[in-house]
Point group: C2
Chain length 405, copies 2
């Protein structure tokens, strides 16, 4: 049953290097569809939609749109915003006024909650529309999909940086003989685990990896570091920002919470552990906190990831035009090798506000490293590189009209 109308695409949550690949896939596919007339981008996610900050994507230069495939950051702008009850009527009014019948939201767990609510709202109000979530998160914590677009690129970044800074550490006899790298990932350890991909021999970095999936014990940690340091004369340690103690409390987190009730992470865990190491061992430690660089580096992005991000965007449009709504597009991996992945979908209610953790059986009994299972899972996701054009010595990224004024 063909539903004619206009379309809005929006981006939400933390950007990934390939979030604009999904945007491009959505635009390309929606442009082709006869039932979709106007093709809008909402600036800054749902917050821009509420303010009717819509741009006409068909007025963009085709070359610029293609450039989105190698441009990090959220090209339309993104947000963290939990829909308030009083905003629902406003939202529906905007959909109606612009005859918006297709809404695509590229985002993570929290954004899927928004997709779920908007779809339910439209149903309750008898306004026919198709609302589809497009998965995106470097954290890789969305359930219902083998992995999340964005993860492969951030994983490749983490593994590459560990390899490079591991060479730096190994090659440099100084007081600084312990390197700590703190990854993002909120309550899951997918990103920290990715560091393991850098390792080819026992002596190579990383030596220790700690994930939030297992309770963190500082004494065990210090004893682990000591063992490695005594063995090799140096130690490379990777920690996930969301490490928790046996009682489920973050080792280091801020008091304040974001709009979704999440405590702010990424502020001080590495420094805390550095001090603990220096207080316990006769060695200096230094820390690397890549922070948002791990989700915005295009030079370390994975072509496999970019391609999949593009495909889930295209598939979202196909599924919506087939009449589906209230779903999230997924990636379904075939068993065995070679690596093969297809697109599928899942009821977004099963995804919203859920977190998928690293399976406990993939973590070694000692709780400080991963098993081969993780490599089999993650290695295919980091394959291939992306050609980034340079101008004047720096990456030359695409800019939509709204950016160029």
């Amino acid at each position: 049953m063909v539903l004619k109308g206009n379309c809005v695409i929006a981006q939400s949550g933390g950007p990934t290097p390939v979030i604009n690949n999904s945007l491009y896939g959505l635009i390309e596919e929606a442009w082709k569809k006869e039932e979709i007339a106007a093709l809008y981008g909402a600036l800054y996610g749902i917050t821009g939609l509420l303010k009717e900050r819509l741009i006409d994507l068909k007025k963009e230069d085709i070359a610029v749109l293609k450039g989105l495939r190698y441009t990090p950051g959220a090209a339309l702008g993104s947000c963290r915003h939990r829909l308030k009850a009083e905003e629902y009527p406003r939202l529906l009014e905007i959909f109606k006024r612009h005859n918006i019948r297709y809404f695509f939201y590229i985002g993570g767990n929290d954004s899927m909650d928004t997709v779920y609510k908007i779809n339910r709202l439209a149903q309750e109000e008898g306004y026919e529309m198709r609302v589809v979530g497009v998965p995106k998160t470097i954290d890789n914590d969305l359930p219902g999909t083998d992995h999340c677009p964005g993860y492969g690129s951030a994983a490749k970044y983490i593994a590459s940086v560990v390899r490079e800074t591991g060479l730096d550490l190994k090659g440099m006899l100084s007081q600084n003989r312990v390197t700590l790298l703190e990854t993002m990932g909120r309550n899951t350890g997918w990103l920290a685990a990715a560091a393991m991909l850098a390792k080819r021999s026992p002596e190579e970095a990383p030596h220790l990896i700690y994930l939030p999936e297992r309770p963190f014990n500082i004494d065990k940690f210090l004893s682990d570091v000591k063992v490695v340091y005594q063995e090799y004369g140096y130690a490379y340690v990777v920690v996930a920002e969301g490490l928790k103690d046996i009682n489920g409390n973050y080792i280091v987190a801020e008091e304040s919470k974001d709009v979704f009730g999440h405590r702010q992470l990424g502020s001080g865990l590495a420094a805390y552990l550095k001090n603990a190491i220096e207080g316990s061992l006769p060695v200096k430690a230094r820390y690397i906190v890549p922070s948002t660089a791990q989700r915005s580096s295009m030079l370390y992005a994975s072509r496999t990831d970019a391609e999949e991000a593009y495909l889930v965007g295209k598939e979202a449009v196909s599924l919506a035009c087939q009449g589906l709504s209230g779903i999230m597009v997924t990636l379904e991996r075939e068993k065995g090798s070679p690596y093969l992945c297809r697109v599928g979908y899942i009821d977004v209610a099963q995804v919203a506000n859920q977190e998928k953790s690293v399976p406990l059986e993939w973590i070694t009994p000692e709780g400080n490293f991963l098993t081969r299972d993780f490599i089999e899972y993650a290695l295919p996701l980091i394959q291939g590189e992306i050609q980034v054009p340079f101008a004047g010595g720096l990456p030359d990224y695409a800019k939509l009209n709204v950016e160029r004024k």
Copy 2:
């Protein structure tokens, strides 16, 4: 006057992405010289030399040696070590035993002190040898040379990461509306200044840059951040690790000192400023601490820099074979454009333990940004990229025999 004998090459101080380009240039040129017989690499700088940890570089695979041109980290191993009086006789004994007549030390300020001392030692003891320093430091703080091999690549890394994480910041409406990036650079601001290269418009990152060359005042800093935040709704701030107050005291540094008497930096400045911002403005800040990633990322390395690093290595051998000793190779820039740079040399006594700062007239009167002069200086240094081979999704770096066991 031809001096026949063997040769030792060693690397010292913090690695750079292109430190092995200098190593390759030295090897390639020394290999050609009839007066140079054995070609040794000392492992871990002067400390390895003192332990006679020498490897025969002519036994390395040519393909591996060529691979040094895209391999970060110190391939021979590096160190920080201040020669003690009692080590001098030992050193001379080793030189004599192995008939070492050529010693090339790739390093920064502290290493040039070692070059100076070894040259003086040999002269005093009447042992004829040629001792030449090959400049290397991402800090760019060596006097006597227009710029230092290693700087261009780290500058390109900083500018690229600021551009990428600047896109991330701009594109993401959340509580985190201030990004702080802390660069290395010890007492000089060359690396922090490089962030400016990312900027093409007033709104683009970075908005504020603070260098150790100007006294840092926290109240002025907070007032600057506030102005930017009010103008754009976000602020991107770059700080050099070595910021000092009006009395010349580091804003944040550890009590302990390294062997050269330098206080340990890179530990907590960004966190301190984040807290100051959050205590003063209604906004959250996050920080990026690239640490050793800024000196080991080959994907962001500059081809110009790599080429110059290679050339200073070759030139060191040429000058030594011409009879020069106790010198450091330099880069001399021609005035005007296009950019042209030749190799030269300087008496190492003029370099040892000295620091070259960013000229004060290149810093804006407000003390929070750079003038166009800096761009004219730095932009040519970041031109061109290096092709890094990948295998299995990750950079595939070269390994000398000693690494491969």
